[in-house]
């Protein structure tokens, strides 16, 4: 016990004796740990906020979209959710609370929108009033799409802030007319600004009634509809899912054994998929930046080897007056671990700061969250680096023959 305390004291002393050298050595670990923490904290913050967004969809919601594996697409097959599918689901499936179809203009590409001499590109979507709850888009000026708009195929649009700016519309554009796909539409609402998510503009949309969109697309293209629906309660989720699957399989004339050409996902499943992606991302990026920790560890090993050589005579003296192998081993090991743990502490602090800084500088980016496990891993890792890279120099010191070490000049 006393020897251990003494080893720690002596390790601290010798680290202090070579202040600048120790600092430089530690820097490798500091940089390694800081980058791991930064990356993990930023990604975890992102994942947290994405999960929150999906939670707002509620556990009673389902989304239906066409889906074909890449191989099938290569064979020339096309999958879509048609208007017939939409109607069948709407009228035949029980326990649906609300249903929101979304129709993208021409395969989800942006379309040109005009106002006067200004032209802008926007995501043009046809949907219904319930889309408001799904997408959390609220009107800043004017109103959102109504049931009536859809019934009477009104040529009205709700636009996003980005589109307003691109078209040089005045701050309150309600009542202005813009051109979409060659037709005139009245602007009835301007949505609140949402900002960017991962560099994707979220305010670059033009929303029009679903039925109007259908009319606009006409018969040239058969639409592929994305459907978002909520059910009356979580207990009916499964039966609704089964009913929809049955209808779609029949409508799409899928034979027994053929795979679905659509996907029915609950909000939970979506969250899970995204979490998986984020976890993989964390692992890959974390792995890449961990390499710098490895480099830091090698730096520690290098300086410890120098230290052992420098102090060969001291080691000889200690052995002559009674130090055993483990005394010397522990002393050098503690020195290496102390160096790397210092690096770990400073690295966690810097990493946390950098993560917070990064997320505060990216607009609309969620605040960085440093999970406890990341701190634990960083400390554990730096201690391990200390042990792994300290053991070789320490063993070299411990194995010195007292007589050789004493004679060392």
């Amino acid at each position: 016990m006393h020897t251990l305390l003494e080893s720690i004291r002596s390790a601290l002393m010798s680290i202090r004796a070579h202040g600048f050298r120790s600092f430089l050595t530690t820097l490798g670990i500091v940089i390694g740990v800081a980058s791991v923490i930064t990356v993990v904290s930023v990604i975890q913050g992102l994942s947290y906020s994405i999960n929150k967004q999906f939670e707002s969809l509620g556990s009673n919601s389902l989304s239906i979209s066409s889906y074909l594996p890449f191989e099938e697409r290569l064979k020339g097959k096309i999958a879509r959710i048609t208007e017939r599918d939409l109607n069948d689901i709407n009228y035949r499936v029980e326990n649906i609370e609300s249903l929101t179809p979304v129709l993208f203009a021409q395969g989800n590409r942006s379309s040109s929108v005009q106002y006067g001499s200004q032209t802008a590109f926007a995501q043009v979507q046809g949907t219904t009033y319930s889309y408001q709850n799904v997408s959390q888009i609220f009107a800043k000026h004017g109103r959102f799409l109504s049931l009536e708009d859809n019934k009477t195929r009104r040529k009205v649009v709700v636009i996003g802030e980005e589109v307003r700016k691109d078209l040089n519309l005045k701050p309150n554009p309600v009542g202005e007319y813009i051109q979409v796909g060659g037709e005139w539409f009245k602007v009835i609402g301007l949505a609140e600004k949402k900002g960017e998510l991962l560099g994707l503009k979220q305010d670059n949309f033009v929303l029009m009634p679903f039925s109007t969109m259908e009319g606009l697309i006409g018969n040239q293209v058969r639409p592929d509809i994305f459907i978002q629906l909520t059910v009356t309660g979580p207990e009916v989720l499964e039966s609704v899912q089964q009913q929809i699957e049955r209808i779609l399989r029949r409508n799409h004339k899928l034979r027994y054994g053929e795979e679905n050409d659509f996907k029915i996902q609950t909000a939970e499943q979506l969250t899970k998929t995204i979490s998986q992606v984020i976890d993989t991302l964390t692992l890959v990026l974390g792995g890449i930046v961990s390499i710098s920790l490895l480099v830091g560890g090698i730096g520690i090993m290098n300086i410890m080897l120098v230290s052992v050589t420098e102090r060969t005579r001291e080691i000889g003296i200690c052995k002559a007056i009674g130090a055993k192998r483990h005394h010397i081993l522990i002393q050098f090991l503690i020195e290496a671990v102390t160096l790397s743990l210092f690096g770990g502490v400073i690295g966690v602090a810097i990493g946390y700061g950098l993560g917070a800084l990064a997320s505060s500088y990216i607009p609309n980016f969620p605040p960085a969250t440093v999970p406890l496990w990341a701190i634990g891993v960083a400390f554990g890792f730096s201690a391990m680096v200390g042990i792994v890279f300290g053991i070789l120099p320490a063993a070299k010191a411990a194995n010195l023959k007292p007589i050789d070490a004493l004679r060392y000049e």
């Binding site: 006393h2 200690c318 002559a320 007056i321 130090a323 055993k324 192998r325 004493l406």
Partner: protein
């Protein structure tokens, strides 16, 4: 029973294809409270003798009994214990830890005995008082003169109350006045009952001792009592 009993001790090295016999079948015994000097030219084997007596090196063959313990069969860890408990080293170049104060240097061997910090301080202060260095115990070695450094080294050797004090050319790096002081200290320690073994090539130093063993080519050529001991 003698304190030290060497029987047929040999130490051979292989240097290239030449076998060097640093010590060849040396037998010797040293009693408690002896004041003995090993003298000889360089290469005579006196350093090897020192290393073997100090348990820093193991003999190639022969038996070495120290304080009724068979040292030649011991492993490294047991030898470390012997060095810690039975032997007090005093080196020509002092061999103090450069970054530790005089007090910390003297306390150091006690660490390996697991003695508490408080107790270590008490014992080390006592040892430094015995060598008249109590007022300089917070100084680092490089703030001390050669003679003072050697006193610290002697205090470090004394603090463990070893059975023998082993001094390797203890005055080799000191000026003549300091040499006299240090030798007086050794004389005093001998009178207090310590067993002192010294290695030197200076007859003047050897003359302080009561027994002089002369080595040459790895063997003892003379072993005499010194009637003129100062």
């Amino acid at each position: 029973m003698a304190l030290i009993e060497l029987t047929d001790i040999s130490k051979h090295y292989q240097m290239g294809d030449q076998l060097v016999k640093a010590l060849d079948k040396v037998s010797l015994s040293i009693e408690r409270n002896e004041y003995i000097a090993f003298v000889g030219a360089s290469g005579s084997g006196k350093s090897t003798m020192m290393n073997i007596l100090g348990c820093l090196d193991t003999p190639t063959s022969g038996t070495f009994r120290l304080n009724e313990k068979n040292v030649q069969d011991m492993n490294e860890s047991q030898l470390a214990d012997i060095r810690n408990q039975e032997i007090g080293f005093i080196f020509q170049s002092f061999n103090l830890l450069p970054r530790a104060s005089a007090l910390a240097n003297v306390m150091h061997p006690l660490i390996y005995r697991g003695i508490s910090l408080k107790q270590r301080k008490v014992l080390a202060t006592e040892a430094l008082e015995r060598v008249n260095l109590a007022e300089r115990m917070d100084h680092l070695p490089n703030q001390l003169s050669g003679g003072q450094r050697q006193r610290v080294a002697i205090a470090r050797a004394l603090v463990t109350t070893p059975s023998i004090l082993l001094a390797d050319e203890p005055t080799g790096n000191l000026d003549s006045q300091t040499t006299v002081d240090i030798m007086k200290l050794f004389d005093m320690l001998h009178q207090e009952g310590h067993t002192i073994v010294m290695v030197t090539h200076e007859d003047e130093i050897a003359n302080h001792c009561h027994r002089i063993v002369r080595l040459q080519d790895g063997g003892i050529i003379e072993d005499k009592l010194n009637a003129h001991a100062a």
